[in-house]
């Protein structure tokens, strides 16, 4: 029993890392822009579709361009639509971005079709890694590594670069940032693009793992919201801890009490929010209260 629990725990942590990556973009969009982006899952799906198309047209080397394309689309969406939601009721952003999610899913269905698309990992990443009781596909391990690198790069970008400092300052006191002569609208466009790019990276990585289909956004958006709520709205560190915990809880529930598999992460969220209403690492933000 111990062996299978160990194996499930390891598998859950890897799954958790993918959840973290999906949730990171959502957390940034909310934390820095104050927008609840329900279309985040749709950008995740777009990432998988662009990744697949680039692979089919130009091979694996072209796949990393998929998040860039999705980021550009996200920036256009920000200028046309999202910008109008800043400072408005959170409910409004929820409704508008929900409509946006439906629109993007319909566009995916229109351009790529309603059926799923076969998308396998590259040959050099296929195969299994077996260490004692632990069984992992090589591709899942690669996803783990890619996610850690992406999150580390994101943390360094936000913590140590001038642009990162402007983003963090803008999220706390946008008026002061503008008074310093920094063009905040352009910065915010960049932030939304960054959130979409993170969703797309997760989509590209998840494509060969899950099923590439128009409805794949639904598989991503609910865990992402749960993780952001557990971790604390806008907290990247919180999202990281919460993602790993959700992965772990989901995997162990499937092993020990499969009947509750569908409800496990929601129950976990409920318990955490009962104890800490702001989430694990959530802080008090004057802007939102």
């Amino acid at each position: 029993m111990f062996e299978i629990l160990l194996s499930q725990a390891a598998n859950g942590i890897v799954l958790g890392f993918l959840y973290v990556l999906i949730a990171a973009g959502l957390s940034i969009t909310f934390g820095l822009l104050g927008v609840i982006n329900f279309a985040h899952g749709a950008f995740f799906a777009l990432g998988a579709y662009f990744g697949l198309t680039l692979y089919q047209l130009f091979g694996w080397a072209a796949v990393p361009f998929a998040p860039i394309i999705v980021a550009l689309i996200g920036m256009v969406v920000e200028v046309v639509l999202i910008r109008r939601l800043y400072g408005k009721e959170p409910l409004l952003s929820l409704i508008v971005t929900f409509a946006l999610a439906l629109l993007i899913e319909a566009l995916i269905r229109f351009f790529w079709g309603a059926d799923g698309k076969p998308f396998s990992p590259p040959d050099f990443l296929s195969g299994l890694v077996e260490v004692g009781p632990l069984l992992m596909t090589t591709y899942r391990l690669s996803v783990l590594v890619a996610t850690v690198i992406t999150l580390a790069a994101l943390w360094m970008f936000l913590s140590f670069t001038p642009y990162g400092r402007i983003l963090r300052a803008g999220s706390r006191d946008p008026e002061m940032v503008e008074m310093l002569g920094i063009p905040l609208p352009r910065v915010l466009t960049g932030v939304f693009g960054l959130g979409c790019a993170l969703a797309a990276i997760a989509g590209v990585l998840a494509g060969p793992l899950w099923n590439v289909a128009p409805s794949m956004s639904a598989s991503a958006i609910m865990p992402a919201f749960v993780i952001v709520a557990i971790g604390g709205l806008g907290s990247l560190r919180g999202a990281t801890v919460a993602g790993l915990l959700v992965g772990l809880v989901s995997a162990l529930t499937i092993q020990l009490y499969p009947e509750a598999a569908g409800a496990a992460m929601y129950l976990f969220m409920f318990l955490i929010l009962l104890i800490r209403p702001r989430g694990l690492l959530g802080e008090r933000w004057e802007r939102f209260e």
Binding site: Q8, N11, A114, G116, L128, L209, A213, P214, A218
Partner: protein
């Protein structure tokens, strides 16, 4: 006091006049609707998934059904056919859309229902509104079993029929079986039926997982199955869940190690994941490349390929045959009256198939054998994934026996009213 009573009486009179007017207007509208159905185009409803994980299946179901309309030149009984196509996103909305088809569009019959949960929700409205419903995709036994009614007919063979076709093949592998099924009506039917059949065969259940619909990541389930080392796995997953499971099953090195069996799968479940991940033995209602297909079947395959540049899945066939049976019956009834259409459906026979399929009069289940297929070792064609192993039955007697007796099925059909 008197004045108050007078006002009350006047009020009652006014409210009575108002309510009579409303009833009158409703009757007038209904009459106008009926008149429109007597002279204008004949409206037929269609409810299949347009969005969500079953959208691809819904697309094939609707394409098949629309092809049946086209084959007749878009006419039935000399009048134009107008198809009103609404969505089946979930059971509740499917039920509401059925109601909408009847009350707002005055359809004379409906072809629809991919998920068993949605189909079961719709059968109640079919009965209440006395509207013929041909359930094209759902397999849960209740639809033509305990929940049967005079206005509901069903294309797909029931879960017990399809599972019984697999059991003799499955038992050759050994007695230890693991179930992984969807956590809703269809999956629960597979689990209960599978358990009963396993008990009869002295088999052993080594594990069960009832999986929430739209599960994206199956890796934890595969690890669990792997640790139990069963002789075979019986799956009851549908659409994207079936595809996601197969993808993970293959990625985790399980393909070819433990045989996988399933029922009521669709070709799209396999086309979606590609040849590398596809594996298993399945019962399906029909396969486009079955050597036993008749000229009629082949003509349908050709018409579908000409129009959509790909072969029809079994779901397209289900949509096609279901719609054909409804339109043929409207034609035979020479009427849009629902009772006449129901009677015509009870006498309808498919003259194009290898087996003269028909709806059994006491449960309205379509009686025809299913096909048992195995994923090819080497898939060379983009669409042709299966070898046909056998059919679940041959003659009429065998087929009727497969579909069960009145006692086994549990349908107590109400009188047509």
């Amino acid at each position: 006091m008197f004045e108050a009573n007078k006002r009350k009486t006047a009020g009652m009179t006014l409210s009575r006049i108002f309510s009579h007017s409303v009833v009158g207007a409703m009757l007038l509208a209904a009459g106008m609707g009926a008149q429109a159905q007597d002279t204008g185009p004949i409206k037929v409803g269609m409810i299949f998934p347009k969005q969500g994980p079953s959208a691809a299946i819904g697309e094939f179901l609707s394409r098949g059904a629309l092809l049946a309309v086209e084959e007749r030149g878009g006419k039935v009984g000399g009048r134009d056919i107008e198809v009103v196509f609404l969505d089946e996103p979930n059971a509740q909305q499917a039920q509401q859309n059925f109601q909408k088809l009847v009350e707002e569009h005055n359809v004379v019959g409906v072809v629809g229902g991919n998920s068993s949960a949605a189909a079961l929700a719709m059968t109640g409205v079919a009965m209440r509104t006395q509207t013929p419903l041909i359930v094209a995709g759902a397999a849960a036994r209740e639809i033509t079993g305990a929940s049967c009614n005079p206005y509901t007919f069903r294309f797909q063979a029931t879960v017990p029929v399809q599972l019984a076709g697999l059991m003799p093949i499955l038992r050759k592998n050994g007695q230890d079986v693991y179930f992984i099924t969807a956590a809703y009506a269809f999956g629960q039917d597979i689990l209960n039926t599978g358990r009963a059949l396993l008990k009869e065969a002295d088999g052993k259940e080594v594990g069960v997982d009832e999986v929430p619909l739209n599960t994206a990541d199956y890796s934890s389930y595969v690890l669990k199955i792997r640790s139990k080392k069963p002789d075979s796995v019986i799956g009851g997953l549908v659409g994207q869940d079936q595809s996601s499971f197969l993808k993970t099953w293959n990625a985790m090195g399980m393909k070819g190690r433990i045989p996988f069996y399933g029922i009521a799968v669709s070709d799209t479940d396999f086309w979606d994941v590609g040849p590398d991940a596809s594996t298993g033995i399945y019962t399906k209602p029909w396969y486009y490349n079955d050597p036993d297909n008749t000229e009629g079947d082949r003509a349908f395959v050709k018409a579908f390929m000409d129009k959509y540049d790909r072969p029809p899945s079994d779901k397209a066939y289900a949509g096609w045959l279901s719609m054909r049976s409804l339109l043929d019956s409207i034609e035979a009834a020479a009427s849009t009256d629902s009772k006449d259409i129901v009677k015509a459906l009870e006498s309808w026979k498919d003259d194009k198939g290898a087996f003269p399929a028909f709806y059994r009069d006491w449960d309205h289940q379509l009686i025809r054998p299913s096909v048992v297929v195995e994923v090819k070792d080497k898939i060379a064609d983009k669409w042709d994934y299966f070898d046909v192993l056998q059919h679940t039955s041959q003659g009429l007697e065998d087929t009727l026996a497969d579909f069960g007796t009145k006692e086994e099925v549990g349908c107590n059909m109400a009188a047509l009213s």
